[in-house]
Every structure is written in C-alpha cells, then in structure tokens.
C-alpha cells in the first residue's frame, strides 16, 4: 500500500504523544543517569559536578554494603523465583485436572496478586511480629519453637519474611500463566504417551514440560527482573534494618540517593543492576534454546 502525504502526517501525529512522553520521562532520565554515573554528583557538589570516570562504579563494587545488598537480591531471586514457579505450576496442574470450580479457584488463588505491596507487606509484618500470631502458633500451639522467633530484627529473619511474601504474592500470577499454557498442550501427545504406557511422571517430563517451554522461559525472565525489582516489601517490613543488613539493591540505591545524597554512586549502581539483568536474560534465553536441540 502506498502511503500518501496526508497519511504520513496522521501517522506522525499518532506517534507523537507516545514518543514525546517516552522521550522526556524515560529516555532522557536513562541518558541523564548514564551521565551522572561518571560524575562526582552529590549534595555537596550540587553546584559543580566533576567528571571522575569510573570511580563511582569502583566505589559501588568495593562497597561492603552494596555487596551485602547484592547478595540479598540474588538470594531473594534464587529462592522466590523457583518457589513461586513451582507452587504456581503445581496449583495450575491441580486446577487443570478437576472439572468443577475451576474459575472459583483461579479467582481466589489470584487474590494475593492484586493485593497491593504496601498492604501485603504490612500484613506480613504484623503476622511475623515477635509477639505476633505466627510466633504464638509456632511456640504455643504446635510447639515447634521453644520461644518467640525474632523474625524482623536480623538479616536472615527479615529476608525470610520478605521471601515468604514474594512467593505468596507470586503464586497466583504463575498459576494463571501456566494454566493458559497447559491448555495449549496438544491432547494427542498425551494420548500417544498413554499408548506407549507412560506414567504420570513420565508424561510430565516428556510431554507437558517440553510443550510449555516457551512459557517457562517467559516466566523465568519476567520473575528474575521482578526479583531484582523488590523494594516496597523490604522498605515496609525491615526498612533495611538492622544496619542495612536486609537491604536489597534498590533499597540501598534509594538510601544512598535520598538519605546520603550520593547521586553519582546510585546512578552507577543502577547501571550495574541493569547490565546484570540484561546478562541474566541473555543467559536464560540461551539455556532454554539449547535444550531445544
């Protein structure tokens, strides 16, 4: 189809608002961030910023607080991503195998997903409080622990609570995504497997999982990005306490920028995280493709 001049104008007008908003509020900040990361840019030097090359990057990588936060983010991602994928897939398989109440289950299992992070974090903070319901249940009802566990005032306790929250909130999303994928698996593959006398486990590994590989990859990439995006739950549950031991990369970045005024440092940190995520996404894609052949 030939595009007339009038059409060109109209196409341009349709593109304009989106490109403009994206350009000003996303593209400009990306470029600005990149520039800031090479400058000494903080409260003190707000008048005259000095070009310092890669010094901010060096400072970030050598910073013990950043290293702790980075390890925390990695652990959070390593635990919550497989955790919610596994449980979400399990629930999807179960829902897929029943005939009644499918919609009801789907709606109810999805409720945690639509609950806002702020609210969900507060509920978890309240439940995991030292004098809270969970401790009471563990110590006085089922007698697993002798005394109340101090969940919220140490590194591993705080991270554990955030991880529980991350998994709890993610099951529903995985469930819906995997349910849709399960419905695309061709039925005759199962019938062929039945003819070959394959058992349930064999069918899972030889038919179901290979057929939904695309969805697994999609979920893996999205959730890994999501894992490094965690912010609100840490901020609300522990606030990084004690002594930044429960900080993740974004809460640490936020602290350095808005409490310590180290904008250059935070900008460099942001780029490091983005590069790490890009590399992870490429690795995940390659791993999944390899299984193909």
């Amino acid at each position: 189809m030939r595009i007339s001049n009038k059409s060109k104008w109209q196409i341009g007008l349709l593109l304009l608002p989106g490109v403009l908003i994206f350009g000003i509020f996303t593209l400009y900040p990306i470029l600005k961030l990149l520039i800031m990361s090479f400058f000494q840019w903080d409260f003190k030097s707000i008048a005259g910023q000095q070009f310092i090359g890669l010094d901010n990057y060096k400072e970030v990588i050598q910073d013990e607080y950043f290293q702790t936060a980075f390890v925390n983010s990695i652990l959070y991602t390593l635990v919550t991503v497989p955790g919610q994928m596994f449980l979400g897939f399990l629930v999807a398989m179960l829902i897929n195998s029943v005939t009644k109440f499918k919609v009801g289950y789907r709606v109810l299992y999805y409720l945690p997903v639509i609950t806002s992070w702020v609210i969900a974090s507060l509920v978890f903070k309240y439940v995991f409080n030292t004098e809270g319901l969970l401790n009471y249940f563990l110590a006085n009802v089922v007698h697993i622990t002798e005394q109340n566990v101090r969940w919220l005032d140490n590194r591993w306790g705080g991270l554990t609570v955030a991880m529980f929250l991350g998994i709890w909130k993610g099951i529903g999303w995985n469930m819906v995504v995997f349910l849709a994928a399960l419905q695309t698996v061709p039925r005759d593959l199962y019938e062929a497997a039945n003819v070959d006398g394959a058992g349930a486990v064999r069918k899972l590994f030889s038919v179901t999982l290979p057929s939904i590989r695309g969805t697994i990859l999609f979920a893996l990439v999205m959730l890994t990005i999501g894992g490094f995006n965690v912010f609100t739950s840490i901020k609300m549950i522990t606030g990084g306490e004690p002594a930044h031991k429960t900080d993740v990369v974004l809460t640490w970045m936020y602290y350095k920028a808005f409490s310590a005024g180290k904008f250059g440092y935070s900008a460099a940190l942001s780029f490091i995280i983005t590069v790490v995520l890009a590399i992870l996404a490429v690795i995940q894609f390659n791993l999944m493709q390899k299984k193909d052949g």
């Binding site: 989106g18 996303t26 609950t115």
Partner: protein, 280 residues
Amino acid sequence: MMKKRTRYDLLIHFILLSALIVVILPMVYMISTSLKPNGALYEYPPRFLPSIREVTLENYRYILGQGKFYINFCNSIFVSVAAVLITAFVASALGYVMARFEFRGKRFLFAFIVLTMIIPGLTLIIPQYELAVKLRTINSLEGLIPFYVAWTIPYSTFMIKGFVENVPRELDEATYMDGGSVFTVFVRVIMPLAKPGIASVSIFNFLTYWEEFPWANTVINDNMKRTLPIAISGFFGQHQFTQWGYVFALSAFSLIPILLVFIFCQRFFVAGLTSGSVKG
C-alpha cells in the same frame, strides 16, 4: 473405574482447598484485625478471630470519619483513572502504527521501547526526581501522571501491538476504499476491535497506578495530596506505636476498588496475562 476417578477428584479438591486456606489466611487476618477493638490488638495471646461480642466497626468509623482519607481516596482515583485513559490512548496509537505501517527507524524504536522493560523502574528515580524538580511537579498530583504513563508505555504498547495484529487487515482496506484515512481506521476499526485487549492492559495499568508507592512517596509530601498507599504507610513513624486496627481498616477500604475491578473484569484479566506468555 468411575468410583476411583471420583475419589481421586475429591482428593485434588481437598488439596486445592487446604492450600487455598493457607493462601488467603493473611487477608482474612487483615480483615479480622480491622474488626477488633483497638485495645485488643496488643493482647497476648493473639487470636486469629475476634469473639463475636468483640466485633466492632470502630476502626472503620474512625477512618471514614476523617475527611483526609476521602481526599486520599479521591487523589488515588483521579491519578489512576487519568493515567489509565492517557496510556490507553497513547499506547493504542503507538501499537496501531507499529503494527500497520513501515517507516524508517521503526524496528529500532520498537525494540528500544520494549528493551526498557528490563530496566528496574526505580533505578530511574534520581534523574526523574531531578526532572520533576525542573518541571515544578514536586508535590503536584497531576505531576505523577506523565511519569506513570511513561512507565507503562512499553508494556502497554507491546501488548496492544499484538492485539492490533490480530485485527484482520481487510477491515483497514475496506475503510480506505470508503475514503477513510489513517485516523478513521484507528477510531472506527482498530479501537473498537482491539477493545478487549486495550481493556485488559488498562486493568493492569490501573492496578499498577493504584498501588504505586515509591515514586509518590518520594515526590508528594503534602498530606492533602497523598495517594492511598502513602496514607497507609503514613501510620508508621507518626505515633510511638502503630494503630494496626486503623492501618488494616484503611487497607481494606483501599482494596474495594481493586476487588470491584477484579470481579467485574475477570475475563479481561486472563486475556491480558496470557496473550504475551503462550505465543513463544
């Protein structure tokens, strides 16, 4: 044979229901706490449910008796609805052009927009804050909107482009035959036929804006301009000890619009979630 099948089914329902109880327990506890008298919130041992005689609406009465929470509520509605409408229009226009026309730089533009999805949104907060200062939109409710729109453009455009591609091109051609322009096709063909897709994207965007916390918390200080998540988190730090009854009453109150959207738009939810995931 039949009997075995039924028993197996019952077992699965049993597992699903038990797991479901664990999953929705925190939400039930939130509601139950909001119905307890505020004094009972610190009692030991803690109880999951209040006794029938104890059940009270005093927390809700307090929350709803404070004018400022209505303002917070209206603020959230205003920002979310405005951002949803603007994004729906802007991303539909982008998605339509990307799906239907060829022009120089198109592939690059689209790839770039989509690739920004990989960047954790919050990492841009420093230059965006600086931009907000320059544009004098600190402490401005309307000032939140362009940032929200910009964050959701990549995902929305990506999804809507997919929906537009499912609209048969013959319908475009027919409109051109009748003397229609690019705009006519957009308004008369694309918008109506991609409506379910645009709706599902909009629902997700609404949820995103409605619960957005870090950005609004950073740029809004004025009590009267706060959105609901900021108001809820505002219960902390003000007082020596947290009034959990109020916190959860306000939380439950703020979940109402979300639940309504969720219940009435269930089918769009699933469409929006799955169309991106099962293509590959």
